[in-house]
Point group: C2
Chain length 748, copies 2
């Protein structure tokens, strides 16, 4: 039988609105909401939920789902657990040894640290492991590949070093974990070790825990290495929900599962594998903080790497809670955060989860006072985000049709820390975010969090290596009348499927910059004790996250008129296209320069003949692209957007009910015009033509990805083709805007 994947829709439809509440203005609602947020509640929930290992499949992860289910119910929500059956491997056996020039067996263990009782409760925890790697038992010389990103392989090529038949050892950082073994595999490596260099999050950054927040010598970063840039979620069910009776791929057909074995290790272990390497000295940018000369190899260091997993199906448990809207029950605000961790998961994900719970408790309190949101709220506590956004993806795929009809926005959070507000997401909701940021007070500085965010961006932009995005954001931040642009979303948390597969607008909200959670990320030291001491003492910012997201939810739920400001979207897309054109010009110039240097044998002449090396592979010339369709579409979008925004401001407040309903219907689903069926080249699951995770960045977003990545990857034909497809999507958006404006301007 089909699993209760329609339960939510049924629940939403069947719930009867409560008796009409006393009219309340939004400010009054928000004051009452704030008053119900108690840091001690968040502390207590985290303490309970982070008390035992809570990775997917663990008893405590299931217990946490039940714990939340009961709380949601107590708080007056209609709640249930929605399970899915997914492929989720767990380690049966693993080994890593240095076999030459000396013997060393990697410890692969994280000992308890003084003063952190939780860190000793690792019974039942995952060992050093990354999910969705291949089974394997290999012995080969090692090659150090720095971060293991595409540019690193270009450097290796220049040095004449080939990883075929080798085991690569890469350090964490710079790009998404899963790309490291994937690129190693693509280049012919037969195994991959990933380690945490002390320069990145160990003693190079801070004294190691428990003396400070730096990664302890034996700290290990677990994680997923599924190829999420093809599709996230259960590898066997791309595009459909992993319900019990879903049609499934075989494991061999699942393109997101790696083929080579991989182990993550600590820097205490890594030093033994790196120190004996010879071959070229690593370039300056490749050197970490271990007290060794970083050489690249290959060999003479040789390693034996063995990993064998159990590949059975596991049940995961999403907790879904809803409150039916009073006025617009068929318009949903979806809010989520995952509950599974890699070990104890205090900061990641429970710091965001306890904020979500605090919101749910406060909204439940409002409901008990008769204050019901006008739109339907759906709160989700996802399971199995860590393996690869599995809980959210399977739920979103299962309920895709309902979501595409009803969901106005998806609002996500995940780990949270003391610091400055940072929101990524769909630019048409930028003004909503700016409004909330102007109204939530920062407890450290007693100014609105938006004011502090502006200050931080302006100071950050002073750094010599500030990115163009930060510089542009700082310029906006310096003008009180302008909103701070939202960062575009890539991947790495549960917003991905909503935004990039379904085309829904999404926001991802966090406070960041002053907690110091990098040193324990995905390790057995991400504990309640660590979070309470280094990440958010007093649970002040976790509570602030609840107040911030709560406002985004309640304003989205209660404002009758559409929240989108179309001109913000038009401005953002204008910026994205300018970046893409600049990229094309830069690539063209680089190819020309390189051809000239190759012609003159400059690389060979400049090289030290006593050291290995060779010129780079020739780049093909970069054509001029057919950007005109995009230029025209964006010019039209700008006109349509400004006209719509003006019409909304002028006529929206007095719009009669029937036309308001037609306007809402037009705008509820407008962002989906940006995600036509075709999808991106080579990864059609990703349908959004404005936002995608980078094929070779993972976490990092690519805007106008069909065009941008075609240029980056030198698929010239795709660049022109996706310029047309993206233009068509933007024109569809403009069509919808113009219809909405017509609705606003009828009779005027």
């Amino acid at each position: 039988m089909r699993m209760p994947h329609t339960a939510l829709a049924c629940a939403a439809l069947l719930l009867t609105p409560a008796a009409a509440p006393p009219p309340q203005d939004q400010a009054s609602i928000e004051r009452q909401f704030d008053a119900a947020i108690h840091p001690d509640d968040l502390r207590g929930w985290m303490k309970t939920m982070a008390a035992e290992p809570n990775q997917v499949g663990s008893p405590h992860d299931r217990a946490n789902a039940d714990f939340e289910l009961n709380l949601f119910k107590q708080w007056g929500w209609d709640a249930h657990i929605e399970p899915f059956e997914v492929l989720y491997p767990t380690p049966i056996a693993e080994a890593l040894e240095l076999t030459a020039p000396a013997k060393f067996t990697a410890t692969l263990q994280e000992p308890a640290v003084a003063g952190d009782a939780t860190s000793a409760r690792t019974a039942g925890a995952l060992p050093a492991y990354v999910a969705y790697q291949g089974d394997g038992d290999v012995t080969a010389p090692l090659v150090y590949v720095n971060y293991g990103m595409p540019d690193d392989y270009k450097t290796l090529y220049r040095l004449g070093i080939d990883v075929r038949g080798k085991i690569v050892i890469a350090r964490y950082g710079q790009g998404w974990r899963g790309l490291k073994p994937k690129l190693a595999q693509d280049h012919g490596a037969i195994g991959c070790i990933i380690y945490s260099d002390p320069a990145n999050d160990g003693y190079g950054v801070a004294k190691p825990y428990p003396d400070g927040p730096g990664r302890p010598p034996h700290g290990i970063q677990r994680g997923s290495v599924a190829d999420m840039t093809i599709y996230p979620g259960d590898p066997l069910t791309p595009g459909v929900g992993a319900t019990r009776d879903a049609k499934r791929l075989t494991r061999a057909e699942a393109t997101t599962i790696l083929k080579i074995p991989v182990l993550p290790i600590s820097y205490a272990d890594a030093q033994h594998f790196l120190a004996p390497l010879e071959g070229p000295v690593a370039p300056e940018a490749w050197r970490g903080a271990l007290p060794i000369t970083y050489h690249i190899g290959p060999g003479p260091a040789t390693a034996h790497l063995m990993v064998k997993s159990e590949w059975g199906m596991k049940t995961i448990y999403d907790v879904i809670a809803s409150i039916r809207g009073s006025d617009y029950p068929d318009q949903w605000i979806v809010r989520g955060n995952h509950h599974d961790g890699w070990v104890f998961g205090a900061s990641d994900p429970l710091s965001g989860q306890v904020a979500l719970m605090a919101e749910a408790q406060a909204i439940g309190g409002l409901l008990k006072q008769g204050i019901r949101p006008k739109r339907t709220l759906v709160y989700a506590s996802w399971d199995a985000e860590e393996p690869m956004l599995v809980g959210s993806t399977e739920w979103a795929e299962t309920h895709a049709e309902d979501l595409k009809k009803h969901a106005l926005i998806y609002i996500n959070s995940d780990e949270n820390e003391r610091g400055t507000l940072a929101v990524g997401g769909s630019p048409d909701f930028q003004h909503l975010v700016a409004g909330v940021a102007a109204d939530v007070m920062d407890p450290e500085t007693n100014v609105p969090v938006g004011t502090r965010e502006r200050a931080s961006l302006r100071v950050e932009a002073l750094e010599p290596d500030a990115s163009p995005r930060i510089v542009a954001a700082a310029a906006a931040a310096a003008e009180p009348g302008r909103d701070v642009p939202l960062a575009p979303l890539g991947s790495g948390s549960d917003f991905s499927t909503f935004l990039q597969h379904l085309g829904l607008p999404a926001l991802d909200v966090t406070y960041e910059g002053e907690g110091e959670l990098g040193g324990v990320y995905h390790s057995a030291y991400d504990t309640f004790e660590f979070h309470s001491r280094f990440v958010d003492p007093g649970f002040i910012y976790d509570s602030l996250l609840a107040k911030t997201v709560g406002r985004l939810v309640l304003r989205s739920a209660n404002r009758a008129l559409p929240q989108q400001r179309a001109s913000d979207f038009a401005d953002a897309v204008t910026t994205y296209l300018a970046e893409v054109k600049k990229l094309a010009d830069t690539e063209r110039r680089q190819a020309e320069t390189q051809a000239s240097l190759l012609h003159d044998h400059a690389f060979a002449l400049a090289a030290d003949p006593t050291k290995p090396g060779r010129p780079p592979k020739p780049l093909d010339m970069v054509p001029y692209f057919e950007f005109a369709p995009l230029d025209n579409a964006i010019a039209r979008l700008r006109r349509s957007a400004h006209a719509y925004d003006a019409a909304l401001a002028k006529n929206g407040p007095t719009l009669p009910t029937d036309r308001l309903a037609r306007l809402q219907a037009k705008m509820l689903t407008i962002d989906q015009t940006l995600a036509p069926e075709e999808g991106l080249p080579g990864r059609p699951w990703y349908k959004n033509l404005v936002f995608a995770p980078g094929r070779f960045t993972g976490y990092g977003a690519k805007t106008l990805p069909g065009v941008r990545e075609a240029i980056e990857d030198r698929r010239w034909g795709d660049a022109d083709r996706y310029a047309r497809l993206t233009a068509a999507a933007l024109n569809a958006y403009s069509d919808r805007l113009e219809e909405a404006r017509a609705t606003l301007e009828e009779d005027y």
Copy 2:
């Protein structure tokens, strides 16, 4: 009595020309010159001269002077030793201990290494020491100040850390050694420790010697800490030669002597002082490669630092050799390299010294065949460069009037290594350099060294952090018809006094980039063994330096027409002014941005209130400067230069003898127009208004220094004043050019 400081001029005047040689074309002369360069000679000389410690005042340094004197005489040169009496301190007692939180006594010793017999012969060597520091005995908490440069003190200010009453510990690198204790002293520190971080030249860069060329754990960089940016040379005799009867300042009057004690230490020692520091974690750019968390302090690490020097006068020995020119004996080509080292001094300075000796031997051989240079050659082997360019400065000050009348150019070398040609110097001699670079073949690639230099610049310019100067040089290098611009000269070797005090044109010539001498620089490991193994195996590039500089000398000596190409100078000055204007605009924009951020309390709001910190000191607004005089002077210079170059090309080859003599006289001293008496603000010894060592960079050059540094140091009035003074100097140069052109164009 006055010492024989006029001996050279007398010798040059009294020598009788040999019988007229058989006519020889320049190419034939250079072929014969090349044939007389034998790598084994260079190897033998270095082995002898680097066999014992040869620092100033050591018996072996004196022996080396005598050794060279005898060789010069054997080779047919008129040679003598010219001594000077200079203030040169040597250590009597020194101590460095960590006194809290634990006890540790710095070893301050460099043990011998296996396979390097020389490294064991340290009897009579200097211990860890830097020259011209203050005597002192201090105990105070430590503060880590990164490189100890001005930007580092801005960072310390932002962190609220004051070095007053503290001992600073700085790492070597980024700016000149002497600036580190000087800035520390200016900020109120009472002592200074300078150490070699393994990230900069130790195991972070290469396996430590003897396994590789990296600095060994106990390697120590000695050096001078005199404030050379005020004036170099003997601290007691600025502006005059330190002859026995010279008028001298008292030691207290000598502004270039530091007041605080300073010791250089190894990274093996430094780790004990750095590891116990607490206080803020050092910013990312401040972190080295020691396996510790770099904290700034102050304390709790506390050190006791004591240095006491013997401050007597010492005799130094310059070896001066000359050959009187056949046709233009009153026009001198001066060529120099120092002979004193810090310990054995194999690479620094003997690699360049043996090249100079090879040139002298080959030129002596030509002389014996009757081939005499047309101009007079003066070859100088300087003593006491290491303490602060003492030997060259005192000689140049002693012979200033003769040099200003007779010297056409000064050509310098110093340490040399395998690699690519790199020449810095006066832009009007750029075309001379390019001509030589086109004719000397690189032994590794079998193309002209100029072709290889162009390739290297073009490849270097591909690096993301390539400087604007490299990018511009690479652009020129990509066009076969254009010469590669010479890098402007700052300080750090013996060209300084000639170029910057006397206003003579100068060149500094080296091969670099493939030897790996950084790890032993100024340590007891800069040995014959190290040089032979890692820096220039086979003495191939030291021999190539001789062939290169020999051509520069012989072409300068033999070409009847002036060597200068004035348009190259005009182009260079045009570039320098563009840089200065950009600097002014950047400073203005930064001041405006900073004022806006301070007004909005952005620094305070962006800061983590749990960490120490404060906003930056407010910058005063940057006015618009009176650049018009400079613009006009450079516009005129460009016209004058192009007209002169065209006239020289057209009429030079057929110029009658009397007019050739008048043209030579005009152009012989033209560069001195750029060094009027007034000198730079606060350091009038430096007279050149186009080139100076940076007040806060030391080694690094500042072009148009009167204007540029006034803007950098926010002396707005000086900027306008020096724009006028520099314009006047450039106009004087143009006057001279126009006179020279008139001489060329008479009767045409």
